[in-house]
């Protein structure tokens, strides 16, 4: 038996710490990071992360220090003769390490209770915006009650105003998550959940379904465009306008194809097309992405989608319509004219 060896732990634990440092330092922040908050909710949640992580790191370092020290100091030696002192316990010590964690938990509980009520209560008062979010396999429907505006996969919100979301699902459970604006809340069939968020600065924020909802779960993304309140109001008015213009021959052909193939499922404001199975396509051309964040909203992206939707997004409800190359081009032209 080769028991009498020096412990190797002091080699490996710094390794882990170094690895963490490399990861944190080397990767930078992605575009959907909880660590770069853009609103008060995400900010509060990040402050809770820092508070708990700081306290917990101290505890970890204490444990690690005692641990590593013990391994080095009290390792078995060839010279060991007698048994070590047989200690069975110490009431004082055991009480101490019961009480100290309790104190820490009291501290963390106060923060928890404070923010649970502050963040968990729907906001009221002047300037709050209501948005109804409906989750579908695998796309997002956003409705602005009282305005008649309905859109999909790109949410518009005014900067500096609290937004109350009422969250519902049309099929299975989804979860609405925009990490830079705040934590997630589930959309549960048979229930309406509430969540409020606020963007402090204008920008495009990325969101994604966070609850397993089927084969297309990874492809259920959306974007949030936070604009100045004036721009936001302008957008709402714009969305109510009759906006469809099909002028070129390709666009006109696309309109006809749309009527024939797409109108039973999709709505476009200002046309007689009022299908509700698929996403509302009003002003589609103004969205940065299509297919719930799966493809860029370009001619190529649209064409790729129309060629075979389930190949782009697993489990997509929109079938392969068997469109010819020419038909796809016409439809792309029509869709790109939806402004």
């Amino acid at each position: 038996m080769r028991w009498h060896r020096r412990p190797d732990f002091k080699v490996s634990l710094p390794l882990v710490v170094t690895l963490a440092a490399i990861l944190l330092g080397g990767c930078g922040l992605g575009k959907q990071s909880t660590l770069s908050p853009a609103g008060p909710v995400a900010q509060a949640q990040l402050s809770m992360l820092y508070e708990s992580l700081a306290i917990m790191t101290v505890i970890f370092l204490v444990v690690l220090g005692v641990f590593v020290y013990s391994l080095i100091r009290f390792r078995a030696r060839k010279t060991d003769q007698a048994l070590p002192k047989q200690v069975h316990g110490s009431t004082a010590l055991e009480i101490a390490w019961t009480i100290v964690p309790i104190i820490i938990i009291v501290v963390l509980s106060i923060t928890t209770v404070h923010y649970a009520f502050a963040l968990g209560t729907p906001q009221t008062g002047k300037g709050t915006v209501q948005v109804q979010v409906i989750g579908h396999q695998y796309w997002w429907e956003f409705r602005y009650p009282g305005t008649g505006v309905v859109t999909a996969n790109q949410l518009h919100i005014p900067v500096g105003e609290k937004v109350n979301f009422s969250l519902q699902s049309a099929d299975v459970i989804h979860s609405f998550w925009v990490p830079e604006l705040g934590g997630k809340t589930d959309l549960i069939p048979g229930r309406t959940n509430n969540l409020w968020l606020e963007a402090s600065r204008p920008g495009l924020y990325y969101g994604q379904c966070a609850q397993l909802c089927g084969a297309g779960h990874a492809y259920m993304k959306f974007t949030v465009l936070a604009q100045s309140p004036a721009d936001f109001q302008k957008w709402l008015r714009h969305m109510r306008h009759d906006t469809v213009s099909a002028t070129t021959p390709a666009e006109k052909a696309g309109l006809a194809l749309f009527k024939q193939n797409c109108a039973t499922c999709h709505t476009i404001q200002g046309t007689p097309f009022h299908g509700t199975v698929g996403p509302n396509l009003t002003a589609l051309a103004e969205r940065p992405t299509i297919a719930a964040g799966t493809l860029p909203n370009t001619a190529e992206g649209l064409a790729a989608w129309l060629r075979n939707p389930p190949a782009v997004k697993p489990g997509a409800r929109m079938p392969d319509l068997g469109l010819s190359q020419g038909q796809i081009q016409s439809l792309v032209a029509f869709l790109q004219a939806l402004k």
């Binding site: 047989q86 963040l119 396999q137 459970i173 048979g190």
Partner: protein, 620 residues
């Protein structure tokens, strides 16, 4: 009038003897059953590990298409189901089977045939679930199997039926294990072994079995409700007809949270055996360790909605469950500090078993830290269902449970198999696993904070997720290398001649007090226990353990094939229900009940092993 005429007659015939594989199938010996549990758990671990590797390969780079999204969902679902139900629990139940009766000075468990039934329900139930891969696809709605996604409308294939029926089958077995070991530990301790003299592993087994007893019925009911929905078109989870999606979540987590303690408390027990042994000191704060186990078990039933913080249950519910969840850190902290105090002032030997046991401490503390962070409900809304959670529970389940299971394997291997595993290979095994584990799972904390949701089959570039994912995938292959070294160590050790060392580690509890290999009756004479760590104390005093009885005939239970066939019948009923072959399901169910009935009137009082010396001759 027939009064009670006959006394219980002892069957003096020898037990029916079975040969070869049948000797194992018919065995009611807790030691053999324990070995079969461990083998089966390692077998399923290979599959669960392969599934994990495929998941890691798929996530190697953005927009990867090594497996389809549908296959990906099946892979992580089966990975979770396998690792929890077919690896973590069975390997721990295997150790409990192999070791607890020895630790309490018993000759078997209370219900040896039922023990065999538990084993076969687990093995056959697990194989049943794995046949789903060849029968239209594995379950794909996550190990948590939330409705309505897992309902018949959104998951029309048979995958979820395999989940529902397979987990019911293995679950019945687990529940019977709980009854069996509760009675065994409460009733069959050697004379003088009061509860507060039991080894800590036995304590952890006792508390774990209580958790199983109360946690498994809710999941069984949940699975029954979903089976009614899926097979008979009931409406428990059908929202338009009055069903409720949250009912599943509540029942699932009322089971699910105690379940994580079912797989961690025995791990605590293993650590509490190994650290004192290799520090040559008694466990520090024994009473507070036992109390902490009990408090954790009690609290574990009051924290389930912390898995549901994003369900919108409101700030009142969320804060109550946040605080109860954080409270679990108190008894857990007591355990950590008591282990540190056990190390303090000891003579620490760095065997492979101890390396694994020691690594448990920092890894489990990291998992505990993220656990407390997750318990803070408002902040959890950012972590929930992200890779942060994946990192957290792998630190407690892999860094905790599996490290302890591997510690236990190296520690008890000489007791269970009569051989010592190679320490040289053990070191390679440990360091590869330890490094591979951290390289795999530490980056997942960062992925979660960077906004990567769980269970996504792929991701786009530009999110900052690629590098951590690639590091994690590399780590998974280091882990694979570590597990292959373990496999090589096992095979080469089995090819060696047994060394049959009785007490290679200078052990403390009764399992080391008997010859190796362990006789089928365990103890020729049941010892009399006058101390905690009685065997250790006797060794130090240079004495034998006192005996509680004279040498005499020893009662042994007869081996039996009936548990195996009962389990097989139940699995056939499962296939019948799943394939909608109603007559087969019905006949198999009736046959199962008939066999249960036969067990209820069964009369076989086993046989006796007689000592070579005349009865009473060798009494002290």
């Amino acid at each position: 009038m027939a009064a009670i005429t006959e006394r219980v007659t002892l069957a003096h015939r020898q037990a029916p003897s079975y040969r070869g594989i049948w000797a194992w199938i018919a065995s009611v010996d807790h030691k053999k059953i324990g070995i079969m549990y461990i083998y089966a758990a390692l077998f399923f671990m290979a599959f669960g590990g392969a599934e994990a590797l495929l998941v890691r390969i798929q996530l190697w780079q953005p927009n990867n298409h090594v497996v389809s999204a549908e296959t990906f969902n099946q892979l992580f679902t089966m990975h979770g189901v396998t690792m929890i139900f077919l690896v973590a629990m069975p390997i721990l139940i295997g150790y409990i089977n192999a070791i607890v009766p020895l630790q309490i000075g018993a000759r078997d468990v209370a219900f040896p045939r039922m023990n065999s039934l538990s084993l076969w329900l687990f093995v056959l139930g697990g194989l049943f679930m794995y046949t789903s891969w060849f029968m239209g696809g594995a379950p794909d709605a996550g190990w948590f199997n939330y409705v309505p996604l897992s309902g018949g409308h959104f998951s029309p294939g048979a995958g979820v039926d395999f989940y529902d029926i397979g987990l019911q089958i293995t679950g019945i077995g687990t529940l019977m294990t709980a009854i069996n070991f509760l009675v065994t530990i409460l009733n069959m301790r050697a004379p003088g072994m009061r509860l507060l003299r039991m080894p800590m592993f036995t304590w952890s087994a006792l508390i774990t079995m209580l958790l199983i007893l109360f946690a498994f019925p809710p999941i069984t009911v949940n699975l029954i409700l979903q089976m009614m929905d899926r097979l008979f078109h009931a409406n428990f989870f059908n929202i338009p007809l009055g069903g409720n999606a949250l009912l599943w979540q509540n029942l699932f987590w009322i089971f699910g949270h105690p379940e994580v303690y079912i797989v961690i408390l025995p791990a605590f027990g293993i650590i509490s055996e190994i650290i004192p042994t290799f520090s040559r000191k008694p466990l520090f704060g024994y009473e507070s360790m036992a109390l902490a186990l009990s408090v954790i078990a009690f609290l574990s039933f009051m924290v389930w909605t912390h898995h549901m913080f994003a369900d919108g249950l409101g700030p009142i519910v969320n804060t109550i469950f946040a605080i109860t969840s954080m409270l679990i850190a108190v008894p857990t902290g007591i355990k950590i500090f008591n282990w540190l105090a056990t190390l303090w002032g000891g003579q620490i030997r760095f065997t492979t078993a101890n390396l694994y046991a020691l690594s448990f401490i920092p890894l489990f503390v990291i998992g505990g830290i993220s656990g407390v962070m997750l318990a803070m409900a408002p902040a959890d809304l950012q972590y929930n269902d992200s890779y942060f959670v994946v990192a957290h529970f792998h630190y407690v389940l892999f860094g905790g449970t599996l490290m302890a299971a591997l510690a236990g394997l190296y520690f008890w291997f000489p007791r269970i198999w009569g051989r010592l595993l190679s320490e040289r290979l053990g070191r390679w095994n440990f360091w590869l696993v330890f490094v591979g584990f951290n390289v795999t799972f530490f980056p997942m904390h960062i992925l979660g904070l960077e906004g990567m949701p769980r269970r996504i089959s792929t991701y786009a570039p530009g999110y900052g997720w690629t590098t951590p994912n690639q590091i994690a995938t590399i780590g998974a292959f280091i882990l694979l290398a570590g597990m292959l070294v373990l496999l090589y160590n096992l095979i080469s050790t089995f090819l060696r001649k047994p060394d049959l060392e009785q007490d290679p580690w200078d052990g403390r509890s009764l399992e080391w007090s008997i010859p190796s290999p362990t006789p089928e009756y365990n103890f020729a004479q049941v010892p009399l226990i006058e101390d905690r760590d009685a065997y250790w104390v006797a060794k130090r005093q240079g004495k034998e353990l006192p005996k509680a009885e004279p040498l005499g005939p020893i009662h042994m239970p007869s081996p039996s094939l009936s548990p195996f066939f009962l389990a097989l019948t139940i699995v056939i009923a499962g296939y019948g229900a799943l394939l909608h072959v109603d007559w087969l399901a019905l006949i198999a169910l009736l046959a199962a009940f008939w066999q249960i009935g036969l067990q209820l009137v069964h009369e076989d009082h086993g046989y006796h092993v007689h000592p070579d010396v005349p009865a009473g001759g060798a009494a002290e």
